[in-house]
């Protein structure tokens, strides 16, 4: 199954990288074929403006994957060090970090996204920042919780007895043993961020038309659900498959990184 996940994710990356080269301009309109069902000329059909759905799916893959991967990466890069330090050193830092996390959790995601869009304008950058920020509390919490458990293990005490310094203990003992739940979190967060991007774009806070994204496509498709259901099916299917792919890949990655799982 992990291989299936890898195949799916690689397929999406290829679609995002190579698809646009094959399909041409996603904004090109074919006025003779609006809301056309899938055919030889338009393998996924066309939308209300006669734009090729396949071209838009391929270009949208770029936006969706970027939003998903970049925002998760951002949250990890910022959140894991914070969680590590707060959980490992405790003292005065830990309560401060945790209260800040509580504040962040209490802050409505959409309000924050609206504010951010107002400041830097609705764009992919804004989407990545908003989604990354909204993932941050979960990452910090998970990291800190794992660190709290791992630092009490005897092998950490043994590392101190070995004469190891804090840096060595954190990076060679604590972090590797906290990795599994973080990888799982990432594989859940990436598809969630893809959906989050769709949500923000749907509300006009994300990627702006005519740039295609799966979320934007779903928004349009909603109005033509009974006349042209394929318009909703394709982006919906893509989101579902991307979610499945990342989840399966995450399972596999966790197994590969954990020596306990292979004989």
């Amino acid at each position: 199954m992990p291989m299936a996940g890898l195949v799916l994710v690689v397929a999406f990356v290829l679609l995002a990288l190579l698809g646009p080269l094959v399909t041409g301009d996603p904004a090109a309109q074919d006025y003779l074929a609006t809301l056309a069902p899938p055919s030889g000329a338009h393998p996924m059909g066309t939308d209300d403006l006669g734009r090729d759905a396949f071209a838009r799916i391929a270009h949208g893959a770029q936006v969706s994957l970027q939003a998903g991967v970049l925002s998760t990466l951002l949250a990890m890069v910022v959140g894991i060090p914070i969680g590590l330090v707060a959980g490992f050193y405790r003292r005065w830092l830990d309560p401060i970090v945790m209260r800040l996390v509580d504040v962040t959790l209490a802050f409505p995601f959409l309000v924050f996204a609206v504010g951010l869009a107002a400041i830097i304008g609705p764009s992919l950058k804004g989407v990545v920042l908003a989604l990354g920020f909204s993932q941050l509390p979960a990452i910090i919490r998970i990291t800190r919780g794992e660190v709290l458990a791992v630092r009490e293990m005897d092998y950490v005490a043994a590392a101190i007895a070995d004469g190891a310094g804090d840096g060595h203990i954190i990076f060679r003992y604590v972090l590797p043993n906290c990795a599994s739940p973080l990888i799982v979190q990432a594989t859940v967060a990436i598809p969630a961020a893809i959906i989050g991007e769709a949500t923000l774009s749907f509300l006009g806070l994300g990627v702006q038309p005519p740039t295609p994204s799966w979320g934007v496509m779903l928004t349009t498709a909603q109005q033509y659900l009974s006349d042209a259901p394929w318009l909703a099916i394709w982006p919906g299917l893509m989101i579902a498959l991307a979610t499945l792919g990342f989840n399966l890949l995450g399972d596999g990655l966790r197994d590969v990184l954990d020596p306990r799982s292979h004989r």
Partner: protein
Amino acid sequence: MILRIDNLVKHYGPVRAVDGLSLEIGEGEVLGLVGESGSGKSTVGKCVLRLTEPTAGTIELGGRDITHLSRRAMRPLRRDVHMVFQDPFSSLNPRFTIERIVAEPLLRHKVTDRREVAGRVAAMLEKVGLRQEMRKRFPHELSGGQRQRVGLARALILEPKLVVADEPVSALDVSVQASVLNLITDLQRDMGFSCLFITHDLSVVEFLADRIAVMYLGKIVESGPTAEIFAGPRHPYTQALLSAAPVADPARQRERRRIVLGGDVPSPMDPPSGCRFHTRCPLAYDECRTSEPLLNDPRGSGHPAACHLVTADRVPDAAK
């Protein structure tokens, strides 16, 4: 003296885990520190390795006061002392191979020449009776006994002067216990390190320890040479502990009188007044409830006990 602990106190909040404990371990000496769970014996071990901060008292390692050394200042001294942990499942980093685990102390003390490290690890693994093909394995692939041998190898690879062994066999199957105990005995004779051997099981240290110290609620109640403790325990608590261990002779076992202690160990958050053992001691009388007996050795025989009833010409007998 390799290790000298003087009046060590360690409180975890209101819990008085160790409450004024002194002991000494000489060069090449094995001291068995015996006590029930909750008596504070593991805390003593952790304090010696500075894995936890002592509340008060002093700890001297090889004549040097290490009680308040910083982590950094302590690091070079860690060559001289290491620890074997109780739980063989949580004491080895699951992400490291056996070879790496055993090599870590070397690497942390700037022994980095690859060939030297590999050679010393291989020699150490052989000493603890692990086959060379174990080197590339991960801890989860080993049995409890094998893991404990890895823990021993890690503790001994720098040839420390002192090894703190915290219940190193109590998590193992009885059949494996004996072989690991024999291994520790052999290694100790061979390498000559001093050892603070912490256990709840007197019979485990009978053939290993030179001296025994019995702990109860954060204090030592009796200490002395192993043979003397076993032949003539002075403190009623030690007498009760010894009477609880079966003798491998049915005829004698049947005749023995067991001292059954009532109740539980009192809470270390609120230790009893006077003698800490008075709530469970069959011989307790008024003075025990009010005044705390100090370790005394009326015969000067290096076998002190903390009991009012121990005098120059009299030793209490809790079995009566």
